[in-house]
């Protein structure tokens, strides 16, 4: 029996017949596709963290000299690592796309009294991402 303590709500003691509470299953996230997509989106942050760690290790080995870097590359060439990195890349992409698409809902901008359309905010994120990636790629591949 629950007691509601907020003032102003009914202040007599409610009589509760036997209410039925459905237990939410531990596998609630399998109930529909949207819930599943949500959980995958959340899990993708693990892969984002993994990518960051790999990148840090890469930079660390770069700093230790060409031999260390070659050894790093050898370890990366292992088929298991390639598979893991491929899957991680897909998840990071998924993470990025869902993040950019959801960003306009949190960032509401008003220009000249009218609300900036969601698509514009999302697009500007994509443009910034691709732009910065292009600059980084130019530096690395030159």
């Amino acid at each position: 029996m629950t007691r509601h303590e907020a003032k102003g709500a009914t202040q007599y003691t409610p009589y509760h017949p036997r209410w039925y509470r459905t237990r939410v299953s531990t596998y609630w996230w399998l109930w529909n596709w949207y819930y599943l997509k949500f959980v995958l989106r959340e899990l993708s942050s693990i892969f984002v963290a993994y990518f960051v760690v790999i990148t840090l290790l890469q930079i660390h080995s770069l700093g230790r000299g060409p031999d260390a870097y070659v050894r790093f590359e050898e370890r990366m060439r292992n088929p298991l690592m390639i598979a893991l990195n491929a899957i991680s890349f897909l998840f990071v992409l998924f993470h990025t796309i869902t993040w950019f698409n959801l960003a306009p809902r949190a960032m509401v901008a008003h220009l000249g009294g009218k609300r900036v359309p969601d698509a514009l905010i999302a697009c500007s994120n994509y443009v910034a991402w691709l732009g910065i990636s292009a600059v980084v790629a130019w530096f690395i591949l030159r």
Partner: protein
């Protein structure tokens, strides 16, 4: 077109039953009938003991929210033709305690609504002789969307966080708090911030986004919550960097 359609409706009487169970009914199929019309047919012609809430039949009172084939819907706005010829399963709104058949217990929402102080808070109120607070159409647009909430609670039925943690304030209550926060006439944002930045307030939300999908009035409660998270985070940083500026 089939002449009839099957409805599977949850039945539960706490005086007799240990748990809810589905009961099958066959109702006439009409192209312009909604699920609520089918339920009314069952109650009027087949079994008068079926209990459910309804009132306006036009999607503005918010009484008739139920799960239709696993999705939270207003039964007055859900056409049978959308599901025909298959059976239509009607169950009580998810994540709320079931009182009887399709009726759920909603005191939890009423308490949470009151908790977020959904009224204009001002230091000094104008008197009637001073006419209206001026508010341009642009200022009205800023919060108008959040003021459309009909309190139907479909968003609560869609929110897995609410299902797993019933202490969560929930989408509609936070959206209504935000409606007042963004009203140019209101000065109560600070007061509401203390309530909403608690653990069961906005920070319990993980932006699943199902609430916005379920909302029949395009209130976008998920958007309201995320916008509020940004505001709360900004205020927190400000209070760290500029502690003397806090109101």
């Amino acid at each position: 077109m089939a002449e009839t359609i099957q409805l599977e409706v949850t039945r539960y009487s706490p005086e007799h039953d240990a748990a809810p169970a589905l009961q099958r009914f066959e109702v006439p199929y009409r192209k312009d009938w909604v699920v609520l019309d089918a339920l009314n047919y069952i109650k009027d012609k087949l079994d008068g003991s079926l209990s459910y809430r309804w009132s306006c039949r036009m999607g503005i009172c918010g009484s008739c929210g139920m799960m239709v084939n696993g999705e939270p819907k207003l039964t007055c706005a859900t056409f049978l033709s959308h599901y025909a010829p298959g059976a239509v399963r009607v169950e009580p709104l998810r994540y709320f305690p079931v009182v009887r058949d399709l009726v759920i217990e909603m005191t939890d929402f009423m308490v949470k609504l009151q908790k977020v102080k959904p009224w204009i808070i001002r230091k000094d109120e104008k008197s009637i002789a001073d006419a209206e607070y001026r508010q341009t159409p642009q200022q009205l647009d800023v919060y108008k969307q959040f003021s459309m909430c009909i309190n139907c609670m479909l968003c609560y039925a869609a929110c897995p966080v609410y299902g797993l943690d019933p202490l969560f304030t929930g989408p509609a209550a936070i959206a209504l708090a935000q409606r007042y926060n963004m009203d140019s006439r209101d000065e109560g944002a600070r007061e509401r911030m203390d309530i909403l930045s608690q653990h069961e307030g906005i920070w319990a939300c993980t932006f699943v986004g199902e609430c916005t999908k379920a909302c029949p009035k395009n209130v976008d409660p998920a958007g309201a919550i995320q916008q509020y998270k940004l505001t709360a985070a900004k205020e927190w940083f400000k209070s760290l960097l500029v502690p003397w500026g806090a109101k």
